[in-house]
């Protein structure tokens, strides 16, 4: 009878052990492994999304970098052209004298006014740069009006920075009479044209922000 009782309890024990083992395995699967797998998959998906996002940002960045590169080149050209910095008046005098000779200007008087500083305002009201502007007044006497025009054009191109014409007056001094033409044909120099030109000579100068502002 004891044997039979023992035999009957054996399946019960085995069944209980099987339930426990099965429960442990299922518990491990659903309590740890599946959440762990989900966690890794979510992390992987998040990393993929982040990668895609960074790739998109990288594309935008490259576009921006290309745009910046174009602007840097423009900026370097302006620097090279002398648009940045202070006006070098001594150099301007040298250039004007050189051009006077080159364009056969017989008489040249000029005056470079004091610099006017015009701050450049941003929308926010801040100022980071200022335009240094000087008025140059040229009084010119020459033989041909073409020389005068070429001289003005050359001054515009040769002076560092930006030069624009604000006003100009060209007046014929003497009507070409037969005597004047004969004198010219003999090599006599004569001034036929008088001109007054007002130029605006402009360069830009950075305003350095004080530390802490």
């Amino acid at each position: 009878m004891t044997d039979r009782t023992a035999m009957q309890s054996s399946p019960t024990q085995g069944f209980a052990i099987a339930i426990v083992i099965f429960g442990l395995i299922i518990g491990a699967c659903y309590g740890y492994l599946i959440p762990e797998l989900d966690r890794y998959q979510q992390m992987t998906d998040a990393a993929r999304d982040a990668t895609i996002n960074v790739n998109v940002q990288m594309g935008d960045l490259r576009t921006r970098a290309a745009r910046d590169s174009v602007d840097r080149n423009k900026y370097e050209l302006l620097v090279k052209d002398g648009f940045l910095g202070q006006q070098d008046r001594l150099n301007a005098a040298r250039i004007l004298e050189t051009l006077r000779v080159k364009h056969r200007i017989s008489g040249l008087e000029y005056q470079i006014d004091a610099v006017q500083k015009n701050p450049v305002l941003r929308q926010s009201g801040e100022t980071s740069a200022e335009v240094n502007s000087s008025k140059i007044t040229l009084n010119i006497r020459c033989f041909l009006d073409d020389d005068l025009r070429d001289f003005i054009l050359a001054v515009k191109n040769a002076l560092p920075g930006h030069v624009s014409v604000a006003a100009m007056e060209i007046v014929k001094l003497t009507p070409p009479s037969d005597e004047l033409l004969l004198d010219i044909s003999r090599g006599g120099a004569s001034e036929l044209i008088s001109g007054t030109v007002e130029l605006q000579w402009q360069v830009v100068q950075h305003i350095k922000q004080e530390a802490g502002l």
Binding site: P11, I21, V54, A166, V204
Partner: protein, 542 residues
């Protein structure tokens, strides 16, 4: 029922349950070891009952874990047909137990088989109640059941279980008919008893008779004459139960071949007689290994059929023990199922672990790629602000330069237009240009991130141009005025954004002038007057 049999057969083949079947007869017993419905081995015990019990115990001890099914085929079987009131499923076992106790008081091995709804006015269900009555031939076996280690699966009655064997054999036999109210009889030759007769009506057990005492008779003729009498007695008996001799009786004989042949010639009072040996019968029944040394005893055929059934027709095993056995079986199979499920779960878990390993590797790879990309991105970002000044300041300077360039006026087109429009007789004596400066108004637009945004429209540049014409070559004032007007028209067309006005003509003919002519003066001949005209252009240069 056929479907249930098929399912049972499938489950037998699939599971191939191993078990012992102990067929206990009056003249001995046979112990068969089954695997599914196949008899793997067997042993006849035909000695004294004590020897038989001892041999069976010894055989069972060799395989103590194999369950055993007891199949009784003794004379001491009692059958009662009775009615049970309609009760719910929960109360039915109690009612059944009470009925069995009433019918077979003090008997341990008893059970009931539900036949169907009762006929007549009283509602209820007809049951066939059966029991193995205690006797000196049965009691030792009952004691043995309490002593063996092997679990007892069930205790069954051979005649009840073999009703379906008869049905199977009858369905597959040629020349037999299955009609409503059909009476059939199975006569099989047993070594553990004698000739077992099972009579059914509509495939339900009608009567079961055992004719013992044939063991010592070898003569076929004697056996035939005895069988004729026994079958005749059976027919007489079932006639009282409603058998119509005119309808006839389908009979199947499973036993010795010479007896079967003699039976065919003996003109038994049956309509159809099919004779077969156990080997032929086992093929029809779907069991195997039931042919013993003699080749004609049907003990093993009945043992294999009745013992291999998963769902017995009628169980005599006490309800409590049956439940206990079912619980044990449930736990055993539950343990196996759980073990199998645990293996599957472990495989699933291993697969999950492998997937986690792969997912972790994938994550590390993706994360490393993301980190590298982020690093490259950060490096690119840091490069953006590299340089002498920030790019925003560069753009501001570019914008300022652009504004200045926009405000600049190229005078070359003016000179070209004027030079081209002047005729040979007119000369330009002076030109005065005044350009309105927009210098104090320089301001920066807010920066835009859109590279394809249109450039902001340049502010208009306004000014005036004053041309002084020397018309001294003209002798006719009318022609000089005409030349001035023509030149003004050309300039109007050339500089469409500017307003062209003749402010001075060689003659004082303009609306603002006072035009006076003295007597005898020819104004058109240009005498003594300064022959000059002035044209003014004002408005937008661009």
């Amino acid at each position: 029922m056929a479907t249930l049999l098929n399912m049972e057969g499938i489950s037998q083949r699939v599971t191939a349950l191993k078990r012992f079947v102990l067929l206990i007869g009056d003249a001995g017993a046979v112990l068969a070891r089954l695997s599914g419905s196949h008899v793997e081995s067997h042993a006849y015990m035909c000695g004294t009952i004590e020897d038989n019990v001892r041999q069976v115990k010894a055989a069972l001890d060799a395989f103590p874990r194999l369950p055993v099914v007891i199949l009784f085929d003794v004379l001491g079987q009692a059958y009662r047909r009775d009615r049970l009131p309609p009760v719910n499923m929960l109360d039915r076992p109690k009612i059944m137990a009470r009925k069995l106790e009433t019918l077979f008081p003090g008997t341990e091995l008893k059970g009931g088989l539900r036949l169907g709804v009762s006929e007549g006015e009283l509602r209820g269900f007809d049951y066939l109640f059966a029991a193995v009555t205690p006797s000196p031939e049965v009691t030792p076996w009952q004691k043995m059941l309490a002593q063996i280690e092997n679990p007892v699966s069930d205790v069954r009655l051979l005649p009840v279980e073999s009703v379906q064997l008869l049905q199977r054999l009858m369905n597959k036999s040629k020349g037999t008919e299955n009609r409503h109210g059909q009476w059939n009889i199975l006569i099989s030759q047993h070594r553990t008893g004698g000739f077992r007769q099972i009579v059914t009506r509509d495939h339900r057990l009608a009567i079961a008779r055992m004719t013992s005492g044939f063991v010592d008779i070898d003569s076929a003729q004697e056996i035939i004459s005895l069988l004729q009498r026994e079958i005749g007695a059976t027919i007489d008996y079932i006639t009282r139960l409603g058998f119509d001799r005119a309808e006839g009786l389908n009979a199947i004989f499973v036993g010795r071949g010479d007896i079967g042949a003699a039976l065919k010639n003996a003109q038994l009072p049956v309509r159809n007689l099919t004779v077969m040996n156990p080997a032929e019968a086992e093929i029809i029944a779907g069991v195997s290994g039931t042919r013993d040394d003699s080749g004609h005893f049907a003990d093993l055929l009945h043992a294999a059929w009745g013992g291999s059934r998963v769902f017995p027709a009628l169980s005599l095993w006490p309800l409590q023990k049956r439940r206990q056995r079912m619980q044990t079986l449930g736990q055993t199979w539950g343990t196996r199922a759980l073990a199998a499920a645990s293996v599957v779960a472990m495989i699933y878990g291993a697969n999950l672990a492998w997937n986690i390993h792969g997912a972790e590797a994938e994550y590390i790879k993706v994360e490393a790629g993301r980190a590298a990309l982020q690093q490259a991105y950060d490096a690119e970002v840091s490069k953006l602000d590299a340089g002498p000044i920030p790019i925003s300041s560069m753009r501001e300077i570019i914008t300022i330069h652009q504004q200045l360039t926009n405000a600049d006026v190229d005078l070359t087109p003016l000179f070209t237009a004027v030079g081209g429009a002047l005729s040979d007789h007119a000369r330009l004596s002076a030109i005065k240009v005044q350009i309105d400066s927009s210098l104090p108004g320089i301001a920066l637009e807010p920066p835009t991130d859109n590279p394809i945004a249109p450039e902001p429209e340049a502010a208009p540049v306004k000014g005036t141009i004053l041309l002084t014409l020397d018309l001294s070559s003209f002798r006719n004032a009318e022609h000089a005025v005409g030349e001035t007007d023509r030149l003004a028209n050309v300039l109007t067309q050339t500089f469409s954004t500017m307003q062209t006005t003749v402010i001075s003509q060689p003659l004082k003919i303009l609306p603002a002038d006072t035009f006076s002519v003295k007597s005898g003066e020819n104004v058109l001949a240009f005498t003594g007057e300064k022959r000059v005209a002035e044209i003014k252009l004002s408005g937008r240069f661009k």
